[in-house]
Amino acid sequence: MRVVWAIARREVRSLLHTATGWLVLGGFLFLTGAFWLALVDNYLARSGDLAYDPYSDVRMSLVDHLLAPFFGNVAILLLVVCPAVTMRSFADEQRLGTLDLLATSPVSAWQIALGKLGGAWAFVGLLLACTLWMPLALTPFGALDPGALAGGYLSLVLLGAALCALGTLASALTDQALVALVLSFSVTLVLWIVGWLNPDPTSFVSQISIATHVGDMARGALRASDVAYFVLLSGWCVVALRQRVASWRYA
């Protein structure tokens, strides 16, 4: 565990020492902040209109008109952010020859894979934690559904974990960070849009689509099948990553 922690800490530290890490951090916070302000502004304008409409008895819920679209926007940002966070993970180590330190240390392929992945997860977790103030800032103005908030963040955490696992695996397949970025983003995009081929949510293509499983979770509706989808996707990537790391000796 100590070794996994050390590798993960080095990974986060490495991200915070590169322009890429700070660009991702700054860009993510700027865009999520902009989305949030636009959504709040839109919510206030529309709810104000409705308040002065004598024939309307519609009340705009915070979950449907603020939280769900916000989580949806953040989920789309993660499609780009996670490949950017993970692209250098193994690719740079291979290109710069620093992989030799891990390869000749008494650590297992599992420890290396989990340490690298743990660092990416921690960084994306930090990004998501930095957005928490936005929904929490609403609490003085109305009752915020804690279940919807927790469900929304859990969906983002699960999505981030799966995308980081996919990105780290892509990074282990090449020594060029840019190739890893393009590869993981392409696979992620295909997994997102594949559901469009068949609108029936019970169809196979819909079930393998990320978008299908993110949609309801963003509204705080947690289904075991959605959680299982992300856990299985992450698990498959971790096992494949471990195999890849173990195979380097035979390359």
């Binding site: 070794v3 050390a6 590169t18 020859g97 620093t98 992989l99 030799d100 330190l101 008494p106």
Partner: protein, 296 residues
């Protein structure tokens, strides 16, 4: 301490090393010598557990490298030709990281000792990316030493070091060997082997062509000549009675081989060609030149 048996490694259709056998005893300093592409780095990487062999076996400190790589890596320190350093880390932080990866309990003590041994204490707080090549090489050495290994594998350890640092590196290797550390160092620099090692294992085209103690290698029967005018000199020297062959390696220097002490006769024959230098090369130098000549 190290036992390699029938070690073979292929990359696709290319064979990097083929059927290598050697043994290195505890506390021995052995040089792995050979021209570029001889298979030195492949051998070192297999011993360090970074690369799997296609066939054969390696035992280090009683553990099989392929069956129990973790146990082997605990007792081996490896400095690759290109030290694995993170440019964004400070020297002491990097050594702490390397010590943690090797499961060292008292990390602070281990880092302090490694800084001292590799003479990098003065740059302990500096980022590795801002160090000179020589210092980077020494930080790589410190990382290889941080877990007090029983076996030290050094791949071209003097690369990038200035002459003073090279002397210090040799002294350090000798000190470590005196403390019962087994050292295997690969190099193509003859002086490195001659001044540091007890024994030499020469590789050529992936095979062991020599495994001998240094003091058992003689250079008898070989004369090295440098002349001002090369044209015709080789033919004149070849005509000297007792001379078997005349080689002309890289810089125009002539190596004359034959039976017995040929120096006086060779000096007389070389004098008309503006003799500049005459001497007897070491057996190792002669061997190395012959290997290079086979490649030419």
């Amino acid at each position: 301490m190290i036992q390699a048996r029938a070690l073979t490694r292929t990359y696709g259709a290319r064979t990097a090393i083929q059927g290598i056998d050697f043994t290195v005893g505890r506390g021995e300093v052995v040089g792995l010598l050979g021209p570029n592409g001889a298979g030195k780095s492949t051998t070192m990487r297999i011993l360090a557990g970074a690369l799997a062999a296609s066939s054969g076996s390696v035992q280090i400190d009683g553990h099989d490298v392929f069956a129990d790589p973790i146990a082997v890596k605990r007792v081996v320190g490896f400095l690759p030709e290109r030290p694995p350093l993170y440019a964004d880390m400070g020297v002491a932080d990097f050594l702490s990281y390397a010590a943690t990866l090797h499961g060292v309990n008292d990390v602070a003590e281990a880092v302090a000792r490694a800084l001292e041994l590799a003479a990098v204490r003065e740059v302990a707080a500096r980022p590795i990316g801002r160090l000179s090549k020589g210092f980077k090489q020494r930080v790589g050495l410190a990382a290889a030493l941080v877990h007090s290994p029983k076996v030290l594998l050094l791949d071209e350890p003097a690369s990038g070091l200035d002459p003073v640092q090279r002397v210090e590196m040799r002294a350090l290797v000798r000190r470590l060997a005196a403390g019962d550390v087994t050292v295997l160092l690969s190099t193509h620099v003859l002086a490195e082997v001659e001044s540091t090692c007890d024994r030499v294992i020469a590789l050529h085209h992936g095979r062991v062509v020599l495994d001998s103690r240094l003091d058992a290698i003689g250079g008898g029967g070989v004369v090295r000549v440098r002349v001002g005018r090369v044209d015709g000199a080789a033919a004149a020297l070849a005509a000297v009675p007792g001379v078997g062959s005349v080689d002309s390696p890289v810089d125009g220097t002539l190596l004359v081989r034959g039976e017995g002490d040929l120096r006086a006769a060779v000096a007389r024959a070389a004098a008309p060609f503006d003799l500049l230098e005459l001497g007897s090369p070491s057996g190792l130098e002669d061997l190395f030149v012959r290997l290079a000549r086979e490649d030419a």
